[in-house]
Symmetry: D2
Subunit: 419 residues, 4 copies
């Protein structure tokens, strides 16, 4: 493969640094790509490190704006949440990063893509499905699935030895006993000490959020989030009297304030696409606030039956995204359908941020559009066009099947109240 | 209707007291039934009040144990949550109360059932569908849908006047400017000042939970909840070193401790079955803790695809219960199916209670049964029987459709990263 | 109600003729509307009859083209089929007829709508939901739900007596012992002798199709049906060498040829929206051919997972349409979503028509668009870019969950083969 | 691998004969297993052939009864049909055959399983997932995915040459230009000339059914099929006056009579699990009759909403079975749930068999159980406990959302009737 060009999804860490060296050893021409999706990373240092190891080229792509606008915002609009708790912080970043990798691959006419994702995880699937979708002729190099590579590097110690032998800088300070993935939406923690799902995650683990009971302000604060077509358009900081109006600014602000309140921590066991169950700890401060607000407005704004159908589509889309199918016929289709429903999700929600949690406390429709919430209709005091007498017939007809069941098969079984 | 016997679902409040008198005026023989589902109510006083008005009989049914064991526990087992937030506190109580009413109706051979539910709400549907299911020959009297009654009582003032004219005791202290429904699972608040969904609910409204930021302890506390077949079996209070082992005790304890932390408040707009949107505020301290624990264990315990199917059934069941179809062919069927899945939900979850929220922080399978969580399989450090090389083929075959779509219809549309 | 204008959905039959007279008796100003949706009806005679009875006005609306283009074609595009067998011939006509009624109501500023649908059926729901959707201020007069009317007319004899007493022409020949509903898509038969679901429908019942085993040609014939975006665009009659290119012509031709082969008869028990089960016999010759062709092309053209999602939407839409919710938020939403999927359903299908049935025997994509069917990819003889080795990994990873289940819970139960 | 024992799923054909020899060349100890699932096969000749080639052992397993009782009957009970047309004849046989293979593997302590399924098909997935489920330690040998094997045998000619060189009997008569899979439920045809989906399958292809228009009787015949819990229990042959009461007899009889009428032919393009679309022709005479009868009875017998839920489960189960997941947590769960629903599917259906098709023409509930079909309730002539007046309220309340949508967002878009 002498001279064949590989695009390496490079992070600056031990794994991908060793992979870089290993690829170079095999005579590949390696272009390292670092996608900036908002992770706290010294990109200059990482670039320098890669060049020191011998990378033929290092390219840092600022994908933050695209990540927020083209992946996170649609995810909020669609209401995506995996297994009812995980806001897909990593899953959403993968297609965004893949687009950056593919653009470089196309520019440099690369034949290979290499990544440091493990063979047991979701990320290999996500990166590679995206690659197959966007540049089907690209060949994948997944060292952690390469028999030879795996034999050589059986554990972290082997990597460290290889790094030291090859003059690759190895962090002096001991790495955390877990692995993390960070971006502007979230930080995830897994593996290591977290693999025992019954061990409580150490308090020191969290990076994006403070301990809500120790460091957060004791006074709650309120923000108002405006949506158009289900997409956040303005975040009003009622305390600071400032508005944020670009997706990137909105998310940064909500991460800051949400993080300062310790909002958005979850500790879950989830089902990976490759068939394993894994334990993950996540912190998603801004995303949690946005999700909460959108959910509130959506039920407020959408017709009940449209909402039911939309949620079926949402549940499917969530699995598509988690499993790596962002670029797939089914995901494109589901997204278009959900966008149709969201045309009517227009308005604003007031969210109260408190230490450790947030909740919706008020909402209203935007002045421009209409609203299905009808104060007169629901009022106890006025009719609002509703004829209470109709409800009797409504109930009686709905009871037809219920009564027929008794007629045909006998009485419903009823739990005795005196036990 | 002289002498015909009516069972009146009596609450002791102004509405049902006036309805009682109105029924008596029409020569009905009225038996008032008060079902004790855990609401804070002076049943003795209510009984006395009804007898003073002229009720032919007053029966107080202690349905608390049945409510917890036959309705709340199954709801926890099934993971029911309406529109992703409401834990169905009122919806679940209705069939339980209906069973009490039907038992009395059967005992006294009553021909009529009267209730004070309004014509715009869900409760009329729930009570009456249950009645049709359990005693199809019973006739319903729903005064708030009766044209004559509605003409006579056009507002609260008319009720008060009628009460005073008839010697019915009217509470001196002004009633709250909203209506409530309380039982051992929750208290709900709606109507009145809450009808404007953009008005923040007053802090003084909450009765079951303290203000988490003002009155709750600042130190979190942990409880461990054990489940068998998805049903809570033991609650361990790690602080108090006590265990609770009956459903009623468990729920009471969790209500107490959850309430003391201000856990389980929500403020939502929901879709009523009769087609309206209404705003409700709910507090469900113990139920929120149980729901959180069960959800955590369920994803941990169930096979991914079984979980997906179970959640489809859960979503259907939730709507059945909210809409009043507890006793219906479809609800019975869905419940049986979900119970089958829950056979494998065995284990324990550690929940951290903090001011205003709770979250799962650790979980493990019960020693007796097996566990799909496989620490070796998921470990970064050992293979556990997993062959990483297989993942490449897994991804490639999954990519077939994705690539075919490109071949047939051209490249996927990709958002530009430089804008 | 002297002088108030009623729009009467008039059919010319005994029921609506009596209703017309009954409305006139009550001093209404009655405008009869006959919507021509393709039923074999002597509209001139019906008009004359209505005027003889005293109708203030009779309006015949030719809704055939709209029925085919705006209701039947979309139903074919969406693949609607109720409970897997009924092609919704009546359900689709109702909103079309309602639009005609509402246009007249608007033109003549009518305050009332009257119809002859019974109180146990679906049609009352369909007509009235459409009316509420399209002209919410219109009041409904449903004589067959009117206590007074029902008391007066307790059976067919009462209607005949009333008709004779009022000089309304009553058909001399005995009516069929069942009721029918006919339009250009189908004829339905129900009630009377058909009410016993175990009685075979008489051979003489069918009007739109010949007895396939007695009167149909013995030689099969082929037609080729072209679709764009899931909508039929050309029907090629291979025997006659003619093409049909407007929806109305296509459907008429397919009805003729399909009818001559006795295609499209079904005999079913179905679930009505009001909670009853009823038995119906239907003949839908052209619709059956179109449905068959569309179904074939759709599976051929759509990505598997898009198809799965589309079918979920289709199932929901089918119930909406059957239940009368054509004009509803959910139906509009579902239709838009399905249309999105159908963008890729382009091509042609060859259908063989034989006595009593038809089936797809060949199909291809349109030249213009792409095709997901890939002869090279599926070929036994060439690779077509598929790497068979990948399948091993695909299977192994899919087996992870299956094996984990054995590890956790023991072997799968297997039926013994020697019994 | 000298001496390691391989279980070979042997068919007697060219492919598996060459694979047998190839395995022997590699020093495996090969036990050929022929599972008799009802295919027309000379098992004695096949056994002799295998022994001639050098098989260490040949075992013929009679799996017919198990296939019918444990796979086909449940599939009929569940109503399984893939992509609405394919009755899963091959998919159902695979787990049955796998059980036979695993039993032999266990008996002879084999370490390997070899099969002749191709790398592009579904059968490899089905066989191997079953093997992973039933004997997770078994290693798979899939020659058609083996790089070395595939290089050596690039086409049929290479196999023939190898066979002739090794004294393997090669059929003199030219094989059909397509491949088939046969068992007691169906015969499938694919590949070869069928790969062009627009080429009509030759009339000579069909083996299990006669040409309905040429060879079938012109007189229709009727059978009555009885079901208990959704399972066929008796088939009455009304012409022959005979009853069939074991699953095997029932299916054989229905295959015979159905085949003699040319019933159960389909020509489809389907979506394979590995991501391809393929064209298949199937004939399933008895299965088609059973499916038709069961479907009719199921809609007749089940509550509407139970049916809706059951069909969701059915659709999922169908995909599980087609994809090879018969032995999986999700399939076991879905099957249990569907069985619960089927408890109420008791009764009999009269099916008319005509040349090329069959259809239900009458049905009734079994005397023992109850029936949700209520002739009085649905009758036009009697009330049956139904109060028509209730329907008005039912409709009005259902219209609330429909009207609210107009209020909020303006009138529904309506197609103009004059174009």
């Amino acid at each position: 493969m002498t001279g064949a060009t590989v695009i390496l999804a490079y992070s600056g860490g031990l794994d991908t640094s060793c992979i870089l060296k290993w690829l170079l050893d095999q005579q590949y021409n390696v272009i390292c790509v670092l996608a900036d999706v908002g992770q706290k990373e010294d990109f200059v240092a990482a670039e320098k490190k890669a060049l020191n190891i011998g990378a033929n080229k290092v390219i840092v792509v600022d994908a933050k704006q695209s990540f927020v606008e083209d992946y996170i915002w649609p995810a909020i609009q669609m209401g995506l949440i995996y297994e009812e708790r995980y806001l897909l912080g990593t899953s959403l970043a993968r297609p965004c990063i893949s687009v950056a990798l593919m653009e470089v691959a196309r520019q440099y006419d690369a034949k290979y893509l290499a990544h440091g994702a493990t063979g047991k995880g979701n990320d290999q699937v996500r990166f590679e499905l995206c690659a197959y979708a966007l540049k089907p002729d690209l060949k994948i190099i997944a060292p952690w699935r390469d028999v030879e590579f795996c034999r050589r590097f059986q554990g972290r110690q082997d990597l460290i030895a290889y790094a030291q032998a090859n003059g690759i800088e190895v962090s002096a300070k001991p790495s955390t006993p877990w692995s993390t993935d960070a971006n502007i939406l979230h930080i995830s923690y897994e593996s290591g000490v977290l693999e025992d799902p019954n061990t409580v995650a150490p308090a020191s683990l969290y990076e994006m959020t403070v301990d809500p009971l120790v460091q957060a302000p004791r006074q709650p604060v309120r923000v108002v989030i405006h949506f158009e077509h289900g997409l956040p358009t303005i975040v009003e900081d009622l305390s600071g009297k400032r508005d944020y109006r670009t997706p990137l600014e909105m998310l940064k602000f909500l991460n800051d304030v949400g993080g300062s309140y310790g909002i958005g921590r979850i500790d879950i066991v989830e089902n990976r696409y490759v068939g394993l169950k894994s334990r993950g700890v996540y912190e998603t401060p801004g995303g949690t606030i946005l999700y909460t607000a959108h959910q509130d407005l959506e039920v407020f704004a959408l017709d009940r039956e449209v909402l039911r159908t939309k949620q079926v589509l949402r549940d499917r889309m969530t699995d598509y995204v988690y499993n790596g199918f962002w670029f797939s016929p089914e995901a494109i289709y589901a997204q278009r359908c959900i966008e149709l429903a969201e045309q009517k999700v227009n308005g604003q929600v007031t969210i109260e941020l408190a230490p450790g949690y947030c909740r919706a406390i008020a909402r209203k429709a935007s002045e421009a559009g209409g609203s299905l919430y009808n104060e007169q209709l629901v009022s106890m005091d006025v009719h609002g066009g509703y004829v209470p007498q109709d409800a009797g017939g409504f109930i009686a007809i709905n009871a037809v099947r219920i009564r027929e069941h008794v007629r045909a098969f006998g009485p419903y079984e009823v739990a005795k109240q005196t036990k």
